[in-house]
């Protein structure tokens, strides 16, 4: 499968493509796509702001460039951590993990994310900003759908199981947050009154 085949497949035959990607695991290509999409999005968002913002709140190009580079590094790190977490959760719950497969599939799942900022920018250029917002939301939902599909194919799960694994880290994070708040509240209430 060439890179063009993969990109075409992600748009028109996502299920078969994800299955193939989970099997062949082209991690280098996935990394390239992931970083390229991130940087392109950063550029497109900055370009959109340069037209719509008043300028006083606009991020200077040099700072945007710096943030883009730092953000790309951070997002790659998050991508690795999240892929590892998903694989670990699937292994604990369902007895099967596939770290490299999940990493590769999640990397490619970011690809449709470029369409949101790109079409939003294009819509601003032709004075159809509300339509651009719709494209943006569709693009986000598309990426989420592909990420769930990525988990399903890479971890050989059912759709329900994949959704569960996908949502579990968020649920756990919320749980920890609530626990910390409760503990903090209890600690504060046990302090002697002045």
């Amino acid at each position: 499968m060439t890179l063009l085949d993969i990109l075409y497949g992600l748009i028109f035959q996502p299920q078969a493509t994800m299955r193939e990607l989970a099997r062949t695991k082209p991690l280098l290509a996935a990394s390239l796509v992931f970083v390229a999409v991130y940087l392109a999005n950063m550029l497109l968002q900055q370009a959109s702001r340069s037209i719509t913002e008043t300028g006083l709140g606009l991020l200077p190009a040099s700072l945007a460039g710096l943030l883009g580079a730092v953000g790309a590094a951070v997002s790659v790190a998050i991508w690795f951590i999240v892929a590892g977490l998903f694989s670990l959760l699937a292994e604990i719950i369902y007895g099967y993990g596939n770290g490299k497969g999940v990493l590769t599939c999640l990397g490619f799942a970011a690809f449709p994310g470029i369409f949101g900022p790109a079409l939003y920018y294009a819509s601003i250029l032709v004075n159809l900003e509300p339509l651009g917002m719709v494209f943006y939301v569709i693009s986000i939902l598309w990426v989420i759908g592909l990420q769930v599909l990525a988990l399903r194919e890479a971890l050989t799960l059912t759709t329900t199981q994949a959704i569960l694994v996908y949502l579990l880290p968020v649920v756990m994070l919320l749980g920890i947050l609530v626990l910390l708040l409760v503990m903090g509240g209890l600690a504060l209430s046990s302090l002697p009154l002045p």
Partner: protein
């Protein structure tokens, strides 16, 4: 084959958008070209106003009089810019730099384009000088403004040099050629000469305010206030030093009304430089662009 054509077209479309995006980011007005129509130009004046470039790498704005003058001229010559908002957040600067910017603003107004000042945190001294060259001054109630006056600061390091054993040898063509030298005391005659310069410069400042605020404050009303004191925006409004109170967007609306523009006119920040120009200007400032000299400051 069909697959490759489809994905190829999608990628070419994305590539074209990315190229346009690069243009939009490096030259903010280029990207807005498809929108067309009339615009309100915004010129940011932040920090000390000087003759030499002091571009901030982070904020991307420059307060070099030369650069700001070039931007004002650009606003005057561009037919799509119908009005200008001068956003000033400056405690002042050198007298010549402020005067030069003021003169270019006067020329811009002569083209029939209204210029509105929007005062930020501080718009004092030289900042107020340039505001007086605009058609309408809008301040926030808490803005610090005023400071109408002139200052010249000189240092005398003679005592320090004597302590460390450094002796300055001066060979001069005339009595006052080293007037203001940090290596000796200022004589009474020199002090008088410099005071004369400061007084003359102060009169120029008063004239500028009287001219700029004609019909709003008289010379007689201004003189008691022009002792270097500062005012809040609200106080300045009461005294006639500013026209109205409001924020940046109110100033944009004011410019829009004065230019007779209807609806939501797009705004374009005119002195937002691209990354490379900003980097090189910053390096130039660091590598010797700003040499300390005795100057008059508003």
């Amino acid at each position: 084959m069909k697959k490759r054509i489809i994905i190829g077209l999608i990628l070419v479309f994305l590539l074209i958008l990315l190229i346009m995006a690069v243009q939009s980011v490096s030259q903010p007005r280029a990207g807005a070209s498809l929108k067309g129509g009339d615009k309100i130009g915004v010129i940011d004046v932040s920090g000390t106003i000087t003759g030499t470039s002091t571009t901030s790498l982070l904020t991307g704005t420059t307060n070099s009089a030369r650069d700001i003058m070039a931007i004002i001229r650009q606003a005057a010559s561009r037919p799509d810019i119908k009005a200008v908002v001068l956003r000033v957040d400056s405690p002042g600067g050198t007298s010549v730099a402020s005067q030069e910017i003021g003169m270019e603003l006067d020329k811009l107004r002569a083209t029939g384009k209204p210029v509105v000042t929007s005062m930020g945190d501080v718009c004092a001294s030289g900042g107020y000088w340039i505001a007086c060259s605009t058609d309408h001054i809008m301040a926030n109630p808490a803005t610090l403004t005023g400071s109408i006056g002139v200052i010249m600061e000189l240092q005398n390091v003679q005592g320090l040099y004597e302590k460390i054993g450094v002796q300055s040898i001066v060979i001069k063509s005339g009595e006052h050629k080293d007037m203001g030298s940090p290596f000796r005391e200022l004589t009474a005659a020199e002090q008088q000469l410099l005071q004369g310069i400061v007084n003359d410069s102060y009169q120029q400042f008063i004239d500028q305010v009287v001219k700029g605020r004609e019909g709003k404050i008289t010379r007689e009303q201004l003189l008691p206030l022009a002792d270097g004191r500062i005012f809040t925006g609200a106080q300045a409004k009461e005294l006639g030093l500013v026209d109205s109170l409001g924020d940046y967007y109110d100033a944009v609306d004011q410019a829009r009304v004065m230019a007779g523009m209807s609806g939501e006119a797009p705004i374009e920040v005119l002195n937002q430089q691209d990354m490379w120009k900003r980097l090189f200007t910053s390096l130039d400032s660091v590598l010797g662009g700003n040499q300390p000299q005795a100057r008059l400051y508003y």
